[in-house]
């Protein structure tokens, strides 16, 4: 991606929540200058941390749209129709609208915006906040390859960025949006196991989180299959294989698969509901 182009690009955020903040941080660690970023929110509550980064803030959504090339719509799903109605007449064919709203389909977005608008639907996850997000995006009818490439280059510092068909977004929600919470549950349980065996809670939690982090990094960076890594940790008759047996007996694999399935199904259901709701 052309670095000069990046630094000229004007980026806007409608909404100043965690997702907007995480994405903004990632964008700024690339070539985009803080002076070229603007964020709007109805209250000043969340705007402080953006200002600390040198980003301009406003209460006017229209101002953000008019002054930006790429607009991230990072608001709660039920507010989307309201906001899009508000800004619609200011959206031109130079704009790229990137919606982060869960369950709001490309069809709904395109319906609410002018014809031929370049729309992209993005599903990030919480660790974008620490630049270790997993982000999946799907292109709308009028978004082209170059738009994908631009978005990728903007977001690559936020974490892992992948493109896919819209159908995968609900799965991504179940896997990696909710998945983060599944990992927290597991980390908590690890710590409790240690506490049961006699370790003080604070230390157990600290070690549990580092264990998850370390294992995660090894998994990502080694390129090996997790089953391979697991086998490598298991010495014959050792502690790990005993522990793994207990996990298998508890049916952890099946329930984890079910968790992703359940979260995905719910995402799909919410998507259907929201589509039905926004139909006039």
């Amino acid at each position: 991606m052309d670095p000069e182009m990046d630094s000229q690009l004007k980026i806007g955020f409608i909404g100043a929540g965690n997702m907007a903040f995480g994405i903004a941080k990632g964008i700024l660690s690339g070539n985009v200058l803080p002076a070229n970023v603007k964020v709007s929110a109805p209250s000043s509550r969340n705007l402080g941390r953006f200002q600390e980064l040198g980003i301009a803030v406003t209460h006017s959504n229209v101002e953000v749209v008019c002054g930006s090339d790429v607009v991230f719509v990072a608001i709660k799903p039920h507010v989307v129709p309201l906001v899009l109605n508000e800004i619609s007449q200011h959206v031109t064919d130079r704009h790229m609208i990137v919606s982060v709203a869960a369950g709001v389909t490309l069809a709904t977005l395109e319906e609410l915006l002018p014809e031929n608008s370049v729309v992209i639907r993005l599903m990030p996850n919480l660790p974008c906040l620490v630049q270790e997000g997993a982000l999946l995006f799907a292109r709308g009818s009028h978004a082209k390859q170059e738009d994908s490439a631009l978005l990728r280059s903007l977001l690559h510092r936020c974490g892992l960025v992948e493109e896919g068909p819209e159908a995968w977004i609900d799965i991504h929600t179940g896997l990696s949006g909710s998945g983060v919470a599944f990992v927290y549950l597991f980390a908590e349980a690890l710590a409790e196991g240690a506490v049961k065996m006699g370790m003080p809670s604070a230390l157990a939690h600290s070690i549990a989180s580092q264990t998850v982090l370390g294992a995660g990094r090894l998994l990502r960076d080694s390129g090996k299959h997790p089953a391979q890594l697991r086998s490598e940790v298991c010495t014959p008759g050792g502690t790990t294989i005993y522990g793994l047996h207990a996990l298998e007996q508890g049916g952890v694999r099946a329930s984890t698969m079910s968790a992703v399935e359940s979260a995905t199904e719910r995402a799909r259901e919410l998507g259907r509901k929201s589509a039905a709701g926004s139909r006039k």
Binding site: H225, Q228, E248, R253, M257
Partner: protein, 324 residues
């Protein structure tokens, strides 16, 4: 080289069938002994051209490598009987689950200063030359003896040497393994039949699927987890089925099975080491027939604890005694 088998049951039959298919030894150089001539395996062996006898001593005399292919609790009787007939050339290979090398050596040291003993754990697919065999080397067996046994057993499948303390685990995994597979195949065939396949076809396809998968794994550098992934297309049939398996605790059941078999093997070994086995544990017919053999008697059955039992490893006082 001649090979002898004490015992002419499933194991002897499977090994002989494998050896002859592999062409590693001619059947007329094989002798098998059994007190019970009615066993179907006995006639099977006879048909293959194996020399059959009811005399263990004769099997010993006619062999260089002698497989002990009898049930574990029979081993001590056998050792007492054949002890005096063992020569320097003999390599004794025990296939009995749970019977330690040291217990065999202890017995035989009463007759020879340096009995060459090896212990092996194999499995029934030796009959189709796809056995899984491990062996451990006894105190007086040489490297060449190991190589000889390995050559024989490698002709009927995979064979490698291990430390003796791993043999129980091997029993749990590959000793019992074929039974797990047969059970799985029976059930898989049921699944096929339920979904409309004729039984014979279902069995054939199921067996071929497992055979093929096993072969792929053996020939691949990849982890089985990766090979599994390669079969599972997103949202497809296979991943749905795998979820069902996981929900049923498939993996943990298999781990439990291997563990149970291994633990039971150790229990049996422990019982054997106790050296007190109830006469009821020995099939009456077999015992009678063994006692009919020349040179074998039993005397005195009670011990100091008031528990009656045959002392199988201690020749002094009670237990089997040699006449003259």
């Amino acid at each position: 080289m001649s090979v002898g088998f004490i015992g002419a049951g499933q194991l002897a039959h499977a090994l002989v069938k494998g050896f002859t298919a592999a062409g590693v030894i001619a059947t007329h150089r094989i002798t098998a002994s059994s007190p019970d001539t009615d066993l179907p395996t006995v006639s099977g062996l006879r048909k293959m051209g194996v020399n059959l006898t009811t005399s263990n001593k004769e099997a010993v005399k006619k062999s260089d490598v002698l497989f002990l292919a009898v049930k574990p609790h029979i081993i001590p009787f056998v050792l007492d009987e054949i002890g005096p007939d063992i020569e320097d050339r003999h390599l004794i290979v025990s296939c009995a689950a749970g019977v330690t090398i040291s217990s065999i050596e202890k017995k035989l040291l009463q007759y020879r200063p340096a009995p060459k003993v090896m212990r092996c754990m194999t499995n029934t697919p030796v009959v189709v030359k796809e056995g899984a065999t491990v062996y451990a080397t006894g105190t007086h067996a040489e490297v060449e003896d190991g190589k000889l046994l390995e050559q024989l057993m490698a002709s009927v499948g995979f064979c490698t040497e291990v430390e003796e303390d791993l043999i129980d685990a091997v029993t749990g995994l590959s000793g019992s393994g074929p039974a797990y597979a047969f059970t799985a195949l029976d059930a898989l065939a049921d699944g096929g039949v339920k979904m409309g396949l004729p039984r014979r076809l279902a069995v054939r396809l199921g067996a071929q699927a497992l055979l093929g998968a096993a072969k792929m794994l053996l020939e691949s550098e990849q982890h089985p987890g990766q090979l599994k992934d390669n079969v599972c297309s997103p949202g497809g049939a296979t991943i749905h089925a795998l979820h069902v398996l996981e929900s049923g605790g498939f993996r943990s059941l298999l781990i439990n099975a291997v563990e149970a078999s291994c633990i039971r093997t150790r229990e049996l070994q422990y019982l054997a080491d106790q050296e007190r086995i109830s006469p009821a544990a020995i099939k009456k017919t077999t015992l009678d027939k063994v006692l009919q053999q020349p040179g074998v008697t039993v005397s005195g059955v009670a011990n100091g604890n008031g528990k009656s039992g045959l002392s199988l490893f201690n020749n002094r006082g009670s237990g089997l005694k040699k006449k003259n």
